[in-house]
């Protein structure tokens, strides 16, 4: 078995363990959203095969599962890039010029919100208030928050990621 297939396998068994623990509970189908969170935590997005597994194990129709999944913005339906950039478009950031930062990101990455760069290095998402309004405008890359942004700072930050990735 190849390395990545093994990794897939261990993800699937962790997902199954998670579901097994819930299956016995009363009203277990109410935990669907928790299960979707688990899938996304494991795979980075809602992987199709994993979703089929959820349908089979929890005995919930696939159509219902996707109906729920697509209702919530938090769930990603496509595999994200290596680095996920979330630009805050909350009110405080908007007032402090998030629009300009978003323009700069789109221009540098040549993608729109929801897109991924052709090299797979970055994907771009929007967020609503990252809880750092005091540092607005802000963006988050893979969980790290960058504050008091200017278009120039954005270029430098992206450049840093690109350099590190080509050096790897």
């Amino acid at each position: 078995m190849s390395c990545s297939a093994k990794a897939q396998d261990s993800k699937l068994s962790e997902l199954n363990r998670f579901m097994d623990a819930l299956k016995g509970l009363s009203r277990s189908e109410s935990n669907l959203i928790a299960i979707l969170h688990k899938v996304q935590e494991l795979y980075g997005y809602l992987d199709r095969d994993a979703m089929d597994e959820v349908a089979a194990t929890m005995n919930i129709p696939t159509a219902h599962i996707w109906g729920v999944a697509t209702f919530y913005h938090y769930f990603k339906l496509k595999k994200p890039g290596k680095h996920v950039i979330a630009i805050c478009l909350g009110t405080a950031c908007y007032i402090k010029g998030a629009g300009e930062i978003l323009e700069k990101l789109k221009e540098e990455l040549k993608i729109d919100i929801g897109g991924m760069t052709s090299d797979g290095l970055f994907s771009l998402e929007e967020a609503r208030c990252l809880g750092a309004c005091g540092l607005a405008p802000v963006m988050m890359i893979d969980g790290k928050i960058y504050g008091s942004l200017t278009p120039k700072k954005v270029s430098e930050i992206l450049q840093g990621y690109r350099k590190r990735s080509s050096g790897e």
Binding site: A34, Y74, T91, A132, C133, L135
Partner: protein
């Protein structure tokens, strides 16, 4: 049987022993802010310096974390507490400064005056809090800081004061005493009566009297009832609930347990946004700690009351903050609202009677119980009691979390607490209530903050978002920003909200693009009024508010956009005018960049832009290396 209150007292004294044995308080205690906001500002690195110092020989110092006290623009913050001394508050601490604080303050006892923020003011309310008052500790620590001089901390009483991940710390500030007290000798009806008499109203937005909701739920006959804490905090510029949970999670748990006892429920659920991982983590730990200490679970504190709490994560849908949508989401469905009645109090989660309150509402409960309805009732205005927490942000010097008694004016928040607008800019508007609220102009600054006055002025109290807007923002665009948000978040169940907001957004976008037409304002007003009346849930019913309130208070700006094609804030790109200034050296770069062929000129001579051909794409502005293109 030992009374719950006696069990609690024993637990508290054990907790205090543990605290003292760790030499907490007995010597020097260093508090480093470790909330999401603080960490974003770099507090982890600062924490590491202190931890390292403690490891390598600083034995008389106890390093501990705290939630956020709400001073966003001063983060990371560090407090040094010593028995019998006024705590020293250090602001904007860098790792370099932390090293110096270790060397000079902790080792040599020298307070580094220029980094400390100890104000000259004495908190006017400080005297009101006798020894041991739940809300008194805050003022002992922060009472001399100007930012807090007009604040009163009931909900946030422990935020920035205790280590949120240490239940002993919570016990040391009389934590779980209110729960023990009701279990000892206050029957459920009397608890409800106290909440009713306190005048507490829901802090999640609508301001419904909390006691009445409790009474209604208590009256239902049912084997099973639920308690829900709404921690969805959907307003995209607000962080009160997150900070409350990150700074003092046990308060919310205690409030919910008291609610469960009052209405006869054994199961509580906290519905919290997935976007708040740290708050979720702190809640998980607090629930586990409360369980092992006997404040949750079977037979709490030896009584016959049992109560448990579980966490359910949201998944990024604003409409799920609405109570019936939230209930659908917990049930594992799409978060669509349904018509009320039946209200959740009668038919809620899994069709059982359900009491749902906001985080801030729950956090008030222990104080109401300990200090009584009369005390709580003495704070605030006639119809709005207690305090309200606001997340103050935007164009304001002191951004942060503020908690003020009801009746405080907007002006006091903006100028006394917020210290005004930075950069000599002019105040233009204050926005409360987020996407459901409105924008008030300068003439409303003396409006006292309470549910009714804000509604009368044309905005709402909302859940606590408060954004200050200066002359650089365009009010038409602000309205567009909020409407774009609600339009995007509309669940699509009913046509007025789904289609109506789309129409309104189209018109607003047209106006900001310089394509506004005579009659657009009236069209917006008509659509807005219709959507408010005909929508099924609060999202649609309030979505037009930002537009209607800006039309009411800033109509001239709309008219300028439509008639004169001008944006006085120079914010709307399509309404800017591009001209070539005398800095032009005639390099010709802009001419090549212009997609509209609007630029003419010969090399080495000043170029010109033909206003009639220019499509305002800004390509020339970005291309010119000599800053020779002006846009106004």
């Amino acid at each position: 049987m030992i009374a719950p209150l006696d069990i609690l007292k024993k637990k508290r004294s054990e907790a205090l022993d543990r605290i003292h044995s760790k030499e907490y308080l007995s010597v020097k205690r260093v508090h480093v802010g470790m909330a999401t906001c603080e960490i974003a500002a770099g507090s982890k690195e600062v924490m590491d310096i202190f931890l390292q110092a403690a490891k390598s020989g600083l034995t008389d110092v106890c390093v501990s974390q705290k939630g956020c006290a709400g001073r966003c623009n001063f983060e990371p913050t560090v407090e040094i507490m010593e028995d019998g001394k006024v705590p020293v508050k250090y602001c904007k601490v860098t790792p370099e400064m932390a090293k110096q604080i270790v060397e000079r303050h902790l080792k040599k006892g020298e307070v580094i005056g220029e980094w400390a923020d100890n104000g000259k003011l004495k908190h006017p309310e400080k005297e009101r809090f006798e020894e041991g008052h739940l809300c008194g500790k805050f003022f002992q620590v922060f009472g001399d800081v100007d930012f807090f001089s007009k604040q009163m901390r009931i909900v946030l009483r422990n935020c920035g004061i205790i280590d949120p991940e240490n239940i002993d710390d919570y016990l040391s500030v009389r934590g779980y005493e209110a729960l023990a007290k009701v279990l000892t000798d206050i029957p459920p009806v009397q608890v409800i009566d106290t909440v009713k008499k306190s005048g507490l109203r829901g802090r999640g937005g609508a301001g419904f009297p909390t006691g009445i909701k409790w009474e209604l739920t208590a009256r239902q006959q049912s084997e099973e009832k639920f308690i829900i804490c709404n921690a969805d905090e959907g307003d995209p510029g607000a962080f009160m609930d997150r900070s409350t949970i990150e700074g003092d999670p046990h308060t919310v748990i205690e409030g919910m347990a008291i609610g469960g006892y009052a209405i006869g429920s054994h199961r509580g659920i906290i519905y919290i946004r997935a976007e708040y991982p740290l708050a979720v983590k702190r809640l998980e730990k607090a629930i586990a700690d409360a369980k092992s200490a006997g404040f949750l679970g079977e037979n709490i504190l030896g009584s016959d009351f049992s109560f448990d709490i579980e966490i359910r994560l949201g998944a990024g849908a604003f409409v799920c903050g609405e109570e019936t949508a939230l209930i659908h989401s917990i049930e594992g469905h799409r978060g669509m609202p349904r018509p009320r009645p039946p209200f959740p109090s009668v038919q809620g989660l899994f069709d059982k009677p359900t009491l749902i309150n906001n985080v801030e509402t729950w956090a008030n409960i222990p104080v109401v119980i300990i200090h009584g309805a009369d005390w709580f009732n003495s704070i605030g205005t006639q119809k709005s009691k207690g305090t309200k927490v606001f997340a103050l942000a935007g164009k304001i010097t002191n951004t942060g979390l503020v908690e003020v008694p009801m009746g405080t004016t907007l002006r006091e928040i903006v100028y006394d607490i917020g210290a005004g607008i930075p950069g000599n800019k002019k105040f233009k508007a204050i926005q409360t209530g987020g996407p459901s609220g409105g924008c008030l102009s300068e003439e409303y600054l003396d409006t006292p903050i309470d549910y009714d006055s804000l509604a009368k002025a044309g905005s709402i109290m909302g859940s606590g978002g408060m954004i200050v807007i200066d002359e650089d923002s365009c009010m038409v665009n602000v309205a567009r920003f909020f409407l774009e948000f609600t339009q995007n978040e509309s669940c699509g169940k009913c046509a007025p909200c789904r289609e109506g907001t789309k129409r309104m957004l189209e018109i607003l976008t047209r106006i900001t693009e310089g394509k506004g037409e005579e009659g657009d304002i009236e069209k917006l007003e008509r659509l807005g009024t219709m959507i408010k009346k005909a929508s099924l849930c609060g999202l649609g019913q309030s979505a037009p508010n930002p537009v209607l309130s800006t039309i009411k208070n800033f109509r001239a700006e709309y008219e300028e956009h439509i008639k004169d094609k001008k944006c006085r804030a120079h914010f709307c790109p399509s309404l800017l005018e591009y001209t070539v200034t005398d800095k032009c050296v005639g390099c010709g770069v802009c001419k090549k960049a212009c997609p509209a062929g609007a630029i003419t000129g010969v090399l080495k001579n000043k170029h010109e832009i033909d206003k009639n051909k220019c499509v305002k794409c800004a390509a020339c502005y970005k291309a010119c290396k000599f800053n020779a293109i002006a846009r106004v």
